[in-house]
Symmetry: C2
Subunit: 158 residues, 2 copies
């Protein structure tokens, strides 16, 4: 099943925590305790998010992390991308792409980028602000294309 890593999962959880206090910095230890997450993990994740420019960090006593921009301007894609590297749903669609020996005679290769973009857009369309409110207020900004049947034998969304 398509999964994000737990790092990204935690990342979103932590970001929502920070979004709720709006700019005020919190230390890694505080957040770990609040969310009952392992402290070393939290540290690692916050460091990565800071490196990616999504968080401001303040070192030293009384230091901590705070959002670098308003929650409305941070998307799920930003957070996941920061923690998992550039979005690429198959190895075939990465930039380096040294691996796939089959590309020469592959008719699908040209379509992977589209699939990536579709997913990226989906994640981009969900803002941290929306996620940090307990109730999902708005419906999805998604326009699911008027295709025919596509009856879902396969995995329905949960």
């Amino acid at each position: 099943m398509i999964r994000i890593t737990r790092e990204a999962d935690y990342g979103i959880v932590l970001m929502t925590c920070l979004a709720r206090v709006d700019g005020q910095p919190r230390s890694a230890a505080t957040l770990a305790q609040q969310r009952h997450l392992p402290l070393p993990m939290v540290g690692k994740i916050l460091k990565a998010l800071a490196r990616a420019g999504l968080l401001n960090s303040q070192r030293g006593a009384q230091g901590g992390y705070g959002l670098a921009r308003p929650a409305a301007e941070i998307s799920a894609a930003d957070i996941i991308g920061a923690l998992e590297g550039p979005l690429a749903i198959t190895e075939c669609s990465t930039d380096m792409h040294d691996g796939c020996s089959r590309q020469d005679h592959c008719e699908v290769s040209s379509h992977w980028p589209r699939i990536n973009q579709a997913i990226y857009a989906a994640l981009q369309s969900i803002s941290l602000e929306e996620m940090s409110h307990p109730d999902p207020p708005r419906p999805l900004h998604f326009h699911p294309s008027q295709r025919t049947a596509t009856a879902g034998i396969a995995g329905r969304p949960v």
Copy 2:
């Protein structure tokens, strides 16, 4: 990075092959050779797709696999779902959900299903027919939501 397994990757490749011959069955061996994929893998994947009802299988000599419905009515989501199980981007959002001990004090949990749905819709909107034509004719059926900035420091789509 958000990745589908290679099984699903190959699955899409194989399905496009079958889509191009429109209904005519091909044997696993034939497809494996055509695409230079390891035969045992191909066998495994086609079996799974047949179990999921996306392919018809014919046993015995001269047997093989053919699409169970028109390519236009099969989506990327169907194929991926068949090979990877129900789409669930985090363990928190699976049905069983026995794992996540943090759910009680988790404000994000209610949003995971939305993220899942967004991705699911994105995958659903791409049909096998579109994928089996070498040239991407239509633009994305996606309406990327009028949000403000979300400047992409993080992973841009590739």
